[in-house]
Symmetry: C2
Subunit: 335 residues, 2 copies
């Protein structure tokens, strides 16, 4: 993990937080309390904390808006709206997945109950169009439509993810498609929404959207590698966590469908009714490696990063240094 | 129950269904299937049925748009958007409340699981702004903001409802406020959204909104009476159903806080740890009557209806016959 955060990440939170906090302050008392806890602004008792996420998507929105429009400011409403949708999906996903911790803290539903977490997620989702439409962005309505379409893709991705848990026949194409829907689609929206709402050219919006899609895929692939070999101190999850819960992530599905002896052995381990022992977990991770799936995922991640950069070159955009620095930071965590 | 449906109810479904169905058809396969089941368009196996609700809110939107704009057509997108939000809230409320049946059918979560029902609700909520913004309504963005604000009120109402279950000190003011948030707010939005999106005068929009608020309160009070004494064949719920689940509805809270001996006895029954016997259920209902709460609720309902009609008189609106016929139908069910 890089010790120094890119400047864009450090400043994005300062720039977007006032809009985000003002939006959340409009919620009913219960949803507000749950949301403020979830965002890491307060602890379970309502006392002030600073435990928030990295504000990665807002930072991408602001950096992308700057290279399309020459300033980050027109992207602030879009950045806040994307962050609201992202956190709506985290609140609901944690309930559905039964995940007990996020960002090194107990998840909202474990603290306030499932109903309160569902309602808070609903409230954040309902807020998102409002934040855009009350801004002075000339094309706010188009941006709302883009975000609404993206939200439906996000929902499809979560549905596929839940579906994969029950299925034995998930192939790599489906798995990559799920990664697109769950992660890349919102990053694409984050990268393009500021330019879209400000009225940048169709070519610029398209380039930033395509950039965000490829970067989002790279991001998810890194996340999948971290879910296998990430440092628990950094990820906030136990070592080999995705294998413990037998998640069908990209490297895992690549191994399972590799037609290798290692893939066969991984199938046996995933099909075992009892929880995997520590020894079996390490064996499963070794099978992913032996099937060539760690290397493949790393390579695919690099390929996606290159595709992303090529999109920027084609987009008649301004100085992309800050955006590139962000991309480096979020993707090189593991490579 | 009136045997003959008002014309407005019969035609509203025909007018709004194409927009609603086209919107739902845009969802991912899973959310679409759950939503189509929930709307009563298909059964659990996906076969065509006609089991939908009464399309009451769309009918109100169209009738209200007609008296403000001279035609119902400009209200279609708003009617569909309100119906999407209404059904989002039903899908999620049924999960949170653990309700097993709705409109004489098993609720969506009992058929497809909680996660699928949560995701379908999310998807309907995300669709609502889209339907408005893709219409040719000149003030669609203002209508989206109104609907978004209303959705947050709806969420606050559901949060209060859940909170009431745990609390022993709910007073009548809070209870009426919850009824406003859960029911009247969306009916107010339904009555005003067509006029708002079409650019009717501020005076007309205000009058229709205030009309919907009062009518919505009357509607909820009738619903509360039906939850106590409604015919199971009509309500689709067992007799005295709200007492079985010890819901803190308006007539019940009126009785509990009446300071009468009947109210005291009702407290004892509500505080009893074991389920109420059939005899105790009938006793509880009798206590609501004796406390004067049935009469009070009936009277308050009539008062709200009169307030509603007075709003229309003040709004410089066209012929309100169709709207009045609808109001009669939905409120006189029990009075």
């Amino acid at each position: 993990m890089t010790a120094v955060l890119p400047l864009a990440l450090r400043t994005a939170r300062e720039q977007v937080d006032p809009t985000l906090r003002a939006a959340v302050a409009r919620l009913d008392r219960d949803s507000r309390r749950v949301s403020e806890y979830h965002f890491g602004w307060v602890d379970a008792d309502g006392a002030h904390t600073e435990a928030g996420g990295k504000a990665l998507r807002p930072a991408m929105t602001l950096a992308a808006t700057e290279i399309a429009c020459g300033a980050a400011q027109p992207g602030i409403a879009g950045a806040a709206a994307v962050e609201l949708v992202h956190n709506f999906s985290l609140l609901h996903d944690d309930v559905m997945d039964g995940d007990a911790s996020r960002r090194h803290r107990p998840t909202a539903w474990t603290v306030f109950g499932s109903s309160a977490a569902i309602l808070a997620g609903d409230a954040l989702l309902a807020l998102a169009p409002d934040v855009l439409l009350e801004s002075d962005a000339p094309h706010a309505a188009v941006a709302v439509r883009s975000l609404s379409a993206t939200t439906r893709v996000l929902i499809a991705g979560q549905a596929a993810d839940l579906d994969f848990e029950r299925r034995q026949d998930v192939d790599l194409t489906e798995c990559l498609s799920m990664a697109h829907d769950k992660t890349a689609a919102l990053l694409a929206c984050a990268c393009s929404i500021g330019a879209l709402s400000a009225g940048a050219s169709r070519e610029q919006v398209r380039a930033l959207h395509a950039y965000g899609t490829e970067l989002g895929m790279a991001f998810q692939l890194v996340d999948d590698l971290l879910g296998l070999w990430g440092d628990p101190q950094v990820t906030g999850k136990p070592v080999l966590s995705d294998l413990r819960t037998r998640k069908k992530t990209v490297p895992v599905v690549h191994a399972l469908t590799s037609g290798t002896a290692a893939g066969e052995r991984l199938w046996e381990l995933y099909a075992q009714p009892d929880p995997l022992t520590e020894e079996q977990l390490h064996e499963a991770a070794e099978m992913v490696r032996r099937a060539g799936s760690e290397d493949w995922t790393r390579q695919e991640c690099r390929r996606r990063l290159e595709l992303a950069e090529a999109q920027l070159d084609a987009g008649s955009l301004g100085d992309t240094t800050a955006l590139g620095e962000l991309a480096e930071f979020i993707v090189r965590r593991k490579l």
